[in-house]
Every structure is written in structure tokens, then in C-alpha cells.
């Protein structure tokens, strides 16, 4: 279609893009501001000098190595687990014939119907009352249960019904010949899965892995809950929020912003590097 006013379109799109980007720029600019420079009138966008002291302060006040380690461990465990379980279950549902397959598939689909908030309370209570863990007795009394361990942060996200659905749909279209050739060569199903199916489904696994990684890194509510039970398990978002809530906001806003920049940066870099895969994932999963 020929456009009569291309400049008008550009104007709208650029204005919208500015509206999207400016809050990020404000975050970065504030993270460089000196004491007394942020939150005072009149508002100034640019800092007087680009000082790195806020970043140093953020790293010291936040115990950044611990937060970073927790975030990395949890995100990695969740991503690996979702990829493995989705690929295994997806392969069984797509390429193996067994009684109950349709029932299991319907079960997987129905798990996507339940919103996460419904599980927040019971999952937390189940973890706290986990028998014989964290000082609990056989009936789950007396101790802190699984909340003593870092697995508590990962548990609700280890398996993902959507991930199983996605890999299964992708595996339906794998050519029979390749799998059959391997079977005739005497390969067991596990070997067929690991040596042939996993490499052949790399695109969908990259997409699923990236979606899972970003979500896990950014997750806030569950991590907040677990770290109120066990402060050693704080992740980056929870730690920065705690800093925000417990310091004098007028004076230390730049330190909080520096912490936010540091916590956002890894995922932002990953997104910029692999955004084609990520955007395809969002298309596949619908809206975020």
C-alpha cells in the first residue's frame, strides 16, 4: 500500500519508541547521579558527572556475589530441567505409541489452564512441611522443610506444561526415516532421543530455553516468598527490592538504580544477542 504520510507514521513510531526507552535511560542516568542530585527539584535528566561510586556502593550493600550466585544457580537449574523434561515428555507424546497417551496429553494441556497464583499458598506450605527435610519429622512438623535448600526457589518452575506442548508439536513433524534408521541400527529409544531427536529439535529448544531463562531470572513473587523464609536464598530482584525498601530513598536512589542496572543487564544482553529466538517464542506462546 502506498502511504500518503510516511513522515506521520515515523513520528508516531519514534514517539512510542522514545516513551518505551526513556524510563530505561532515566534508570541509567540516575545510577550515575551524585548524592542530592536525584529526586530534587527541578528535575534534571543528565547527571552532573558520570560517577561509578553508586555501582561500588550497590555491590557492597547488596552482597552482590551471593545474589548473583543464587540467581545464576536457580535460573540454570530451571532452564535445564524444563528443557530435559519437555523434550523427554514431548518425544513420548509425539513419537511413541502407548495406552493412555491421549489422556496424558490432555492432562498436559489442562495444566496450562491453572493460573500460577492458585498454587502460591499450597506450594509454599508443602515445601515448608516437606517430611524429613530441614529438621522436619515424618509428618512435616518442627522444621523449615525444603526452604533450607536452594531447590526451594526452583521447584515450582521445574516442569512446564507449555514446554511439553511446544516440543511435542515440533516433534510431530520430524521425518520418520531418520528415527527408523537409527532404530534398525539397534539404537534404544533413549539413544534415539539423545542422539537424533534432541539435535534435530534444537531450534525449538533454544526458543524454549531462552523464554524459560528470562522468566526465571526475572521472577519476583516466589523468590520473595522463599527468601522471607530463608534470607540466604535472595535472588537479584529480591535483593534490590529489599535495598529499595530499607534505605532512605531520597539519598540512595542512585544506588538502587545502579543495582537495578546490574540485575537487568545479563538478560538484556542475552535478549539482544538472541532476540530472533526470543520473539519467535513469544509468538508461539501468545502474549506475555
Amino acid at each position: 500500500m502506498r502511504r500518503r504520510f510516511p513522515w506521520l507514521s515515523y513520528l508516531v513510531v519514534v514517539a512510542g519508541a522514545l516513551l518505551t526507552v526513556v524510563p530505561f535511560l532515566d534508570m541509567v542516568m540516575t545510577s550515575f547521579k551524585g548524592p542530592g542530585e536525584a529526586g530534587t527539584l527541578p528535575y534534571r535528566f543528565l547527571p552532573k558527572a558520570f560517577a561509578l561510586s553508586n555501582y561500588r556502593a550497590a555491590i557492597e550493600q547488596l552482597d552482590l556475589p551471593t545474589l548473583f550466585r543464587n540467581s545464576v544457580v536457580v535460573t540454570t537449574v530451571i532452564t535445564v530441567s524444563v528443557l530435559l523434561t519437555s523434550s523427554l515428555a514431548g518425544y513420548a507424546l509425539a513419537r511413541l505409541r502407548f495406552p493412555g497417551r491421549d489422556l496424558v496429553f490432555r492432562l498436559v494441556l489442562s495444566t496450562m489452564m491453572f493460573p500460577p497464583f492458585l498454587f502460591l499458598i499450597p506450594r509454599f506450605l508443602i515445601l515448608v512441611h516437606w517430611p524429613l527435610a530441614g529438621g522436619n519429622d515424618l509428618l512435616g512438623r518442627g522444621g523449615a522443610g525444603l526452604t533450607v535448600s536452594i531447590v526451594a526457589l526452583a521447584v515450582p518452575f521445574l516442569v512446564n506444561g507449555f514446554g511439553i506442548f511446544l516440543t511435542r508439536q515440533f516433534m510431530l513433524s520430524l521425518p520418520d526415516e531418520v528415527l527408523e534408521a537409527a532404530r534398525i541400527d539397534g539404537a534404544g529409544e533413549f539413544t534415539v532421543w539423545w542422539r537424533i531427536v534432541v539435535p534435530q529439535t534444537k531450534p525449538v529448544l533454544v526458543t524454549l530455553g531462552l523464554l524459560t531463562f528470562v522468566d526465571a531470572w526475572n521472577e519476583y513473587i516466589w523468590a520473595l516468598l522463599v527468601s522471607t523464609a530463608n534470607p540466604d536464598l535472595m535472588t537479584l530482584p529480591v535483593g534490590v527490592q529489599l535495598l529499595r525498601d530499607h534505605v532512605d530513598p531520597a539519598r540512595t536512589m542512585p544506588v538502587v538504580m545502579a543495582g537495578l542496572v546490574l540485575s537487568v543487564l545479563p538478560v538484556l544482553v542475552l535478549f539482544l544477542l538472541l532476540q530472533k529466538h526470543y520473539i519467535r517464542g513469544v509468538m508461539l506462546s501468545g502474549l506475555k
Binding site: 500500500m1 515515523y10 508516531v12 513510531v13 512510542g16 519508541a17 518505551t20 526513556v22 524510563p23 529526586g39 530534587t40 527539584l41 527541578p42 528535575y43 534534571r44 523434561t85 519437555s86 523427554l88 515428555a89 511413541l96 505409541r97 496424558v104 492432562l107 495444566t111 496450562m112 489452564m113 491453572f114 493460573p115 492458585l118 498454587f119 502460591l120 499458598i121 499450597p122 506450594r123 508443602i126 512438623r141 521447584v155 515450582p156 521445574l158 516442569v159 507449555f162 511439553i164 510431530l172 529409544e189 533413549f190 531470572w217 526475572n218 519476583y220 513473587i221 529480591v238 527490592q241 537495578l260 540485575s263 538484556l268 535478549f271 520473539i279 513469544v282 509468538m283 501468545g286 502474549l287
Partner: protein, 319 residues
């Protein structure tokens, strides 16, 4: 919630394996295949049993019980009392909490939909597609803690939003402190954060409309406004509906942003159902009422989901 609206690819049962051994060996092969299949499914099924079905049953039990949260043997069934308490006169759950939830979801949909339709129609066939997409996607990959705090800071008296207002000669607004502006201010942020994915869906929808339709209409003398109203919008309806429903469902459930920005305040001005559930449970230890609140919200979500499935089915029959 992962949405259940993803266009389903046609269901296809895998073909029987060609060249599978026949007769006795075949039956043994079958048996082995069943064992292997359930081994592959075991981790997922185990997870669903322990962390999906069990919690669901536990939540149901809690919603009709009174419990202090310590001894599992001390759960005391009280019937529908928790639900009655939520819906009783003088309870804040229906008004303002549930009404806030609906306003929050509706407001987000209205804003995000309007914004994304405008941007998507403008960005369609513009240059630098990749750049625009990257920029509009930034909020989606950013943790809610960053989004919430940056906007909270921008809303402060010395923040960017008031800085702009002052520069335009307008007075400052106490965005998050004033009960009248707090909810709209949070809605703006939620809509801002979801604009990218809405634009993505609508741009894809626009691309699927053949250019010849527009050309034919233009040849018949239709102006750009008429083309947009008579051709673009009707053909875009499935994408629009999809954005509407998924945003609405997300809006009904989300409370992380509000937790970060206002914690439901001032007063109950931005308190929503999921946040109320969280606070009843983890601030007050009222597990029973909190679980009842969760199921009331779930009922709302379910009604919307089922209504949307019907609408989509009818839309599918029209097409």
C-alpha cells in the same frame, strides 16, 4: 498463566511405525514401548502429581478450613465460612478489591490495545522493522522489580513525569500517593510493559492481510480512513480479540507490579484480588480465607476463559 489460545496445529496421531516387527515380537515391542514412554514421561508426571494436583487439593481443603499453619493434624473444616466472610457486608473483598482488579485489567486492555493498534498500523511496512521491535520489546525482558521501581521513581515529585509536567507549565501530580490517581498510574505502567508483545501480534495480523485488498479498495476510491475501518479492522479482528483476551486474563492475575510500586496503597486504592490473597496468607497467616480468595479469583478467570473460547469458536465459524 501460559495462554491456552495458541492456534492449535491440527492434531495428528503418529503413524504406526513402519517396519515394526510383526506377531509375537511386535507385542513385546509394544510392551517395551509403553514402558519407555512412561519412563520418559515420569519426571513430568511426578511433578504434576506433587506440585500441581496435591497443591490444588490442599488449596481446596484450606479454602473450607480454619488452620493456624503449623500442625497438619489441626486443620479444622468450617464449610463455606471463608467464602461467606469474603462476600459478607463490610468485607473489602468485593469492593474495592475485586472492582479494582477488574478496573486494572480493563484499563490495561484499553490502553495497550489502543497504543498497539496505533503503533502497529504505523510501523507496518516502515523501514528499520528490527530496530523498532527491539526497542518496543525491552520492557518485556526486564524484571518487574526494575520496571516498577523506575516508574515509581519517575512518578515522584522530583521525578521525570513531574519534571515534564512542570516544564510544560503544569503543576505536579502526586501520582501514587493520591487515591484517585494511583490505580490509573499503575495501569499505565502495566500497559507500557505489555505494549511490545501486543504490537508483535497485531503486526503479524496486519502482514497476513493481502495488499491487493487495500489496492482494490483504493481503486474504488476509498480513502485511507475508510480502508482502515472497512478492511483493516474487520480482518484484524482475530488478532485484536486475541490481544484483548490474553491481556485481560493477565491483568486479572498480576500483582507483582503493584506489590513493587504501591503494595495496594494508598489505603486499598490499588489493592487487587491476587495481592489481597497474598497478604491474607503471608502477612496475616489466614490461610483459609486467602485460599477462598484464590478460588474466587480463579472462578472469574475461568468464566473469562470459557467466554473467550465460545467467542473464538463463533468467530471461527464465521470465517
Amino acid at each position: 498463566m501460559v495462554n491456552v489460545l495458541t492456534p492449535r496445529s491440527p492434531e495428528r496421531a503418529p503413524d504406526p511405525l513402519p517396519g515394526a516387527p510383526a506377531g509375537h515380537g511386535r507385542r513385546r515391542g509394544r510392551h517395551r514401548e509403553t514402558v519407555v514412554a512412561y519412563l520418559f514421561l515420569a519426571p513430568a508426571l511426578l511433578f504434576f502429581a506433587v506440585f500441581l494436583l496435591l497443591p490444588l487439593g490442599f488449596a481446596l481443603l484450606l479454602s473450607v478450613s480454619r488452620w493456624t499453619g503449623f500442625d497438619l493434624g489441626a486443620i479444622e473444616p468450617v464449610g463455606p465460612d471463608n467464602f461467606a466472610a469474603l462476600l459478607a457486608d463490610g468485607s473489602t473483598f468485593l469492593v474495592p478489591v475485586l472492582t479494582n482488579t477488574l478496573l486494572f485489567a480493563l484499563g490495561t486492555v484499553a490502553l495497550a490495545l489502543t497504543g498497539s493498534v496505533v503503533v502497529a498500523t504505523c510501523v507496518d511496512r516502515l523501514r528499520f522493522q528490527g530496530l523498532w521491535r527491539t526497542l518496543y520489546f525491552l520492557p518485556i525482558v526486564t524484571t518487574v522489580v526494575a520496571v516498577g521501581n523506575v516508574w515509581k521513581y519517575m512518578y515522584e515529585p522530583g521525578g521525570l513525569a513531574n519534571g515534564v509536567l512542570n516544564a510544560l507549565g503544569l503543576g505536579s501530580v502526586a501520582f501514587l500517593q493520591d487515591p484517585d490517581t494511583a490505580l490509573p498510574s499503575v495501569v499505565v505502567v502495566q500497559a507500557w510493559a505489555s505494549l511490545g508483545s501486543a504490537i508483535l501480534v497485531l503486526t503479524a495480523g496486519l502482514k497476513s492481510i493481502p495488499a491487493s485488498y487495500h489496492e482494490a479498495a483504493a481503486l474504488d476510491g476509498a480513502g485511507p480512513g475508510t480502508v482502515f475501518r472497512r478492511i483493516t479492522l474487520p480482518l484484524l479482528r482475530p488478532s485484536l480479540l486475541f490481544v484483548c483476551v490474553t491481556q485481560f486474563l493477565t491483568g486479572l492475575q498480576s500483582f507483582a507490579l503493584i506489590t513493587v510500586m504501591t503494595r495496594g496503597g494508598p489505603g486499598d486504592a490499588t489493592n487487587v484480588a491476587a495481592l489481597e490473597m497474598y497478604r491474607l496468607a503471608f502477612d496475616h497467616g489466614d490461610w483459609g480465607t486467602a485460599s477462598a480468595a484464590a478460588f474466587v479469583l480463579f472462578a472469574v478467570v475461568l468464566v473469562v476463559t470459557l467466554a473467550q473460547l465460545r467467542v473464538f469458536r463463533r468467530a471461527g465459524e464465521d470465517a
